[in-house]
Amino acid sequence: MSFDAANLLPILPEIAVLVTASTVLVLDLYLEERNKGLNHSLSLLGLVVALLLTGFVGGGETQILFDGNLVRDAMSDLLKGAILVVSLLAFIYARPWLKDRGMLVGEFYVLGLLAVLGMLIMVSANSFLTLYLGLELQALSLYALVAFERDSKRGAEAAMKYFVLGALGSGMLLYGISMVYGATGSIELGPVAQAIAEQGMSNKVLVFGIVFMVIGIGFKFGAVPFHMWVPDIYEGAPTPAVLILGSAPKIAAFALAVRILIDAMQGLHADWRDMLVILAVLSMGLGNLVAIAQSNIKRMLAYSTISHVGFIFLGLLAGSDQGYAAAMFYSIVYAVMATGAFGILIILSRTGFDAERLEDLKGLNDRDPWYAAMMALVMFSMAGVPPTVGFMAKLLVLEAVVRIDMVWLALVAVFFSIIGAFYYLRVVKYIYFDKPAEDAPVLATTGGVRVAMTFNGLSLLALGMFPAALLTLCQSAFV
């Protein structure tokens, strides 16, 4: 159990984020009110450094670190990069909102960075222990972020619900982990997979373990019927918090699913596949259907998330390398889309006003054609309209499902995405065809936000037309 400093090299990105978080935490104590912007700059700097470091230490052979507790492989490289990029965008969008409300304080950045750290750890976890640690670090930071607007009753209620349900969800996952540990005698993914290959399905405890793990994964993803927290939290939490918790954590949740279901439990594919089928169909169905009835756009996006989770599950349950790569592609793409959507909501908000009804998007084209175009791109991409990347993501997943002869599932998915197209198009209609409200002021926005949003929106188009690069990276994670 001796310590080897070489272990530290591959986790430099995590260390960079941790150092940034700690620095902001301490520095914030000594900053005057007017200098609080330094927190922001420092956080961005930290994320950029972490991103560069990810590129620097990434690539090459898989490395197992810290006595088998962490791993650095092709998947962790890509997902870390994606998480960092998405978080960068999120922090950039969040700044004006925080500044307007005098909430540009260190805590937001510390919690956000710690959540990012948790996600990075989840992505590189190679044992149930580290996986769970990362998950909880992320979850606890997010609970606090949801309650960040302390005077908001709705925020407090949302945080309470999130915490109670989140604790239950984590509990289920932990329950499953403990059972798998009991059945296999290990918490490292490799040995667990080995033990499962030896004993197969003969062990009831293992079956229960996988059931509870799937429940935990379903909960963290927000899949039906474990989706209940999603709409309430999306609606109640301040938009910057939703921005953070609605985007990158989906990538981390994907990593959670891959590490548990594939790295450790590939041998039980037949068992978890059926459960995922149920969750996927329910998620796509309920998510798309209920989203239609929403008049609050944050709630609508919450249900849209749920339906997209169904699609991610489709790729996972295919059980083929192609399916996993498709699901990975989908998760990353979804995170980018969600960031864009909530980013626009933040841009539309101003002091004393939070854009959250569908009507608040009315006439966005008259107020700012560029942002309107970007939001339209995001919506088309979510609806899966070519040539945006949303179409490619759906296509890849459906291809994988058809390839394993689950044609009916693909048809169900297509059917529900037709229903889904309705509510995305309704948003486009509000943006382009309706007149803005009488009292809607000119959108005040900064150059940084505009650049970020442009990058965000156009990347959906560019990735849709040239998906090969990202797809190659996704596939290399599952060879």
């Binding site: 159990m1 005698g185 405890v205 059931v211 019927p225 390839r403 209609k429």
Partner: protein
């Protein structure tokens, strides 16, 4: 290389056109024309090869992972459609330049138009089904933009949305169909798919695949019952209608039918579905066309009818019918585009398109009238015009299709009826508009349009005439290669001559012409019937109704599931978990109970278990009497510690006991602020529901525990038992684990404890909460807070308790005990002083500042770890030695004990910090003490 650029040039040109419009509105028109010409020029090198019957396929790598390439294909069929898209596109660009008014943003218009043109070229040139689908959806999207071009008009917005909803739906259905088709063949490449017709038709999934693809094609080509979006799309500017709704967009569905004709056709399903849909559409379109008062509405329904005709031809499945179909595609494109343009001119010059007001225009614009009437004659199928030729072929094919079938004549009659209606509505277009009295109340005085606005119409009408009179010299070569590549084999011989000799088709044409005249002459009663039928057969109402139903259903589901109550959320969460767990339990083959031999049940264990159950139940029943419930809860703790004793874990028992004491104190302090009785809030059904849920969840957890405990497992305790003495120098394994094997853990834990203490301190600092002064019965609390006897006894107990804690601490390494328990004992003893003697009294003797204590503990613990690092061992390595004390005898000293001392200090400090500050929070306990302090200060 060129095919890719044929598609890319318009797409790229769209951006350029939009940008260049800032230099002047006409710039964009010129630019658009240039771009279309460039695309045409780019295509030209390949035209000859395609005419020669070659199939050009050009590929660029795109998404190798999916086996997808940017592959384009130019053959006869593609050439025919490309010619239509580019040729009519150029004419429309010219026409729109004069059609659009000063107020319209030309840059936007032409950009959208080029976007559409590029997408459409992509559809007809794609070699790959997925690529085709992408461009297909892009045509939906860009047509949405074009239809909603005048977005200030409600009608345009609704029409555009409806078109997008219907065609978008079809596109997704087609995606499903294409995925299936690709899976059957193993490739999405058309060149492979077109060879695999037999394999596809034999596939068990043929029918669903066919239905999905047809859904896509039919929605796009406005087939019944999806036809309703087309009339509503007439809200678009007329150049858009001339382009999209005659030659291109609506022909995309037909194109897919033609493209996949060799693969999909030839089955009974194909015949029924396609012929049935085509025939219905033909009749519905022809019937409604006559009764439109809007000029463009008439053209829209006639387009629907003609699209039905073409679909019907493809549905027949014979090679000749397919040839006729593709021929009619070309003819329809020319005459319908010119008719739309003429309608646009009339609209432009008169300011209205209402045929009840637009009459007798012959006198104002004879030239335009001639052009329009020629095109209308072609639409009616009058000889010497191109429409006649393909219609004649159509009559021939339908007449022979069901010739053997006893009811076959019905098809012939239906088709002849459609022909009659076609003549009738063409007549109406000509007669009603250009003759039939005087214009009624027009907003503008009509006159001939500018020359260049007529030019496109002239060109198209000229084509109608030349093709109609000299088919063999004009269209024949193109038709030949198009038919060959459509059928993927040399087409059967057919004759394009105007006169084939006397036969059933000629009779049908004659019946149609005469019947049409009669119907138009006697149209008044028919209009009355149509007015009565109006609103009943309105598919838009059905569409709106379905949409409304969907919304209602979605709201209902939301209302049931999405209430935002946390209890409900937890209920559903637990139910789902239990459900999935049950599924897992039933689903897998292995039994619940494992093979491990059961241990006998002994009396003590049984008693403790029963007592635990009993006490837990009692807590549940008494939970609204908070104080009582707390006392009963204490009993649970005691039972648990008894259980530990039974299973030979005295350390745990001791810890449980001391923790229990401290917890009770903590709870008592918090309880003070709560009402002594909590009200009963939930109704009975709810409690019963919760009882059921609790039983299910508890039962589930019990079953899980049972399944685990009845199986053999490999405990890790053996390792610790074997290594405790040699590795850690202690016989108390629990303590050795805490301070040695898992010393790092413990260091972390005491840091957390210290942090928690500081956190609570920070939150409670200077916080005062008003506590109740009375008990629930209204009696004031006992004001004699510190009874003397109790205070004296507690003081007596203090040294004893401290002695016990030192004893426990010292023996900890080898016997039950240790720093943690000792710390709790000390803390409990000190708390007792606070409780019995008061804060003020105690603070005069014990410092109220616990921070140094905690800091010292953490420092000591960390220092131990660092010391081993300094000596060259890993962090927190421990060592031990034996010393001989004069009185006690042999005594073991382990470095781990210093670490344990750190634990002890932190536990004492943190526990006191938390409890004392919780106690200080409410006024009742310490006000007198503070008053006393104040009093002394005041007196002195």
């Amino acid at each position: 290389m060129n095919l890719l650029f044929v598609v890319l040039i318009p797409l790229m040109g769209a951006g350029l056109t939009a940008w260049i419009s800032r230099f002047g509105r006409l710039w964009s028109a010129w630019m658009a024309g240039l771009v279309a010409l460039a695309a045409l020029g780019c295509l030209s090198p390949s035209v000859l090869a395609a005419f020669g019957g070659e199939t050009l396929i050009q590929r660029w790598p795109w998404i190798p992972e999916l086996g997808l390439e940017l592959a384009f294909r130019l053959d006869g069929l593609g050439l025919a459609f490309t010619a239509m898209v580019l040729g009519i596109g150029l004419l429309v660009i010219l026409y729109a330049r004069y059609y659009l008014s000063e107020r319209d943003d030309m840059g936007r218009f032409y950009a959208f138009l080029l976007l559409f043109m590029g997408s459409m070229l992509g559809v007809v040139l794609a070699e790959n089904l997925i690529l085709l689908l992408i461009f297909w959806e892009m045509t939906s999207l860009s047509s949405f933009l074009l239809i909603s071009y005048w977005r200030h008009e409600e009608e345009a917005r609704n029409g555009a949305r409806m078109a997008l909803a219907v065609t978008g739906f079809g596109g997704l259905a087609m995606l499903g169909g294409f995925l299936l088709l690709g899976e059957m063949v193993g490739s999405y490449d058309l060149s492979q798919i077109l060879q695999a017709g037999d394999q596809v038709r034999a596939d068990p999934l043929y029918t669903p695949m066919l239905v999905l693809i047809l859904l896509g094609a039919f929605t796009k080509s406005a087939q019944f019952p999806f036809h309703f979006w087309l009339p509503h799309a007439m809200a678009a500017p007329t150049p858009v209608s001339a382009y999209l709704h005659s030659a291109t967009l609506v022909k995309a569905g037909i194109f897919v039918l033609a493209r996949l004709f060799p693969v999909l056709s030839g089955t009974i399903e194909w015949n029924w579905l396609v012929v049935g849909t085509g025939l219905t559409t033909l009749l519905v379109g022809a019937w409604f066309a006559l009764f439109q008062h809007d000029l463009k509405g008439l053209l829209a329904y006639s387009t629907i009818s003609h699209l039905g005709l073409i679909t019907l031809l493809f549905g027949l499945g014979t090679p000749l019918a397919a040839v006729a179909g593709i021929f009619h595609v070309l003819n329809h494109a020319t005459f319908k585009a010119s008719l739309f343009m003429a309608a646009g001119i009339i609209d432009h010059e008169c300011g209205t398109r209402d045929m009840r007001r637009v009459n007798g225009l012959w006198r104002y614009m004879p030239y335009t009238a001639t052009l329009a009437m020629v095109a209308a004659a072609s639409m009616a199928g009058v000889p010497l015009f191109n429409g006649f030729l393909s219609k004649e072929m159509f009559f021939t094919e339908t007449a022979s299709f069901l010739a053997e079938h006893p009811m076959g004549w019905l098809l012939t009659v239906a088709v002849a009826f459609a022909g009659i209606m076609a003549v009738a509505y063409s007549l109406r277009f000509s007669h009603d508009v250009f003759f039939n009295g005087e214009p009624v109340n027009l907003p503008r005085k009509p006159h001939e349009p500018p020359f260049w606005m007529k030019a496109p119409v002239e060109i198209l009408v000229a084509i109608c005439l030349v093709v109609g009179i000299l088919p063999a010299l004009t269209v024949a070569p193109l038709l030949q290669v198009a038919a060959a590549s459509l059928l993927q084999e040399p087409p059967p011989s057919y004759d394009l001559a105007i006169w084939h000799g006397f036969g059933l088709p000629v009779v049908m044409s004659g019946v149609a012409l005469i019947g049409g005249l009669v119907v138009y002459a006697e149209r008044r009663p028919l209009f009355e019937i149509a007015d009565q039928l109006k609103g009943r057969l309105d598919a838009r109402a059905v569409f709106d109704h379905l949409l409304a139903r969907l919304y209602t259903f979605a709201r209902a589901v939301t209302g049931v599931l999405d209430r935002g109550s946390l209890q409900r959320l937890i209920l559903l969460l637990l139910l789902s978990a239990i459900g999935l767990g049950l599924a897992g339990a039933i689903g897998s083959g292995s039994p619940l109970t494992g093979e491990r031999p059961r241990m006998p049940i002994d009396g003590v264990t049984l008693f403790i278990a029963l007592a635990l159950a009993l006490v837990s139940g009692a807590t549940l029943l008494l939970h609204r009497l908070r104080l009582t419930a707390l006392i009963v809860m204490g009993a649970i703790g005691l039972m648990v510690s008894l259980l530990f004793v039974k299973f030979s874990a005295p350390d745990l028992a001791l810890t449980q006991l001391t923790v229990e004491v401290v917890t009770v104190v903590l709870l008592l302090l918090a309880l003070y602020f709560l009402p002594a009785r909590s009200p009963a809030e939930s109704p009975l059904w709810r409690r019963l529901r919760d009882l059921g849920l609790a039983l299910a969840a508890g039962g589930g957890a019990g079953a899980l525990a049972w399944s685990i405990l009845t199986r053999d497992y490999d405990p890790i305790s053996d390792y610790f038992l074997a290594n405790s003495v040699p590795g850690g120098g202690g016989h108390n394994v629990v303590n050795v684990i805490l301070v040695d094997f898992r010393g790092f853990d413990t260091l972390g834990e005491i840091s957390v404890l210290a942090l928690a203490g500081l956190g609570i301190y920070a939150m409670l600092f200077k916080l005062h909460l008003p506590g109740p002064m009375h008990n629930p019965l209204g009696r004031p609390w006992n004001w004699d807070r510190h009874p003397d006897i109790m205070a004296a006894l507690a003081r007596l107990l203090l040294p004893l308790a401290l002695l016990v804690s030192v004893f426990i601490f010292l023996r900890g390494h080898n016997q039950p005990g240790g720093g943690f328990i000792a710390g709790l004992v000390t803390a409990a003893a000190l708390i007792m002083q606070y409780l019995t003697n008061g804060v003020a009294w105690t603070h005069r003797r014990v410092s109220s500042n616990m921070h140094p204590l905690i800091a010292a503990g953490l420092l000591v613990a960390t220092g131990t770890g660092l010391a081993s690092l300094v000596l060259g061992y890993p962090f927190l390595t421990s060592t031990f030695t034996h010393v001989h004390w004069p009185v006690v005898g042999d005594f073991e000293l382990a470095s781990a004990m210093i670490f344990d001392l750190g634990v002890y200090l932190v536990v004492v400090g943190s526990t006191l910090l938390i409890l004392v500050h919780l106690g200080l929070m409410h006024s009742a306990s310490h006000t007198p003490a503070i008053e006393a302090m104040r009093g002394t200060a005041w007196k002195s």
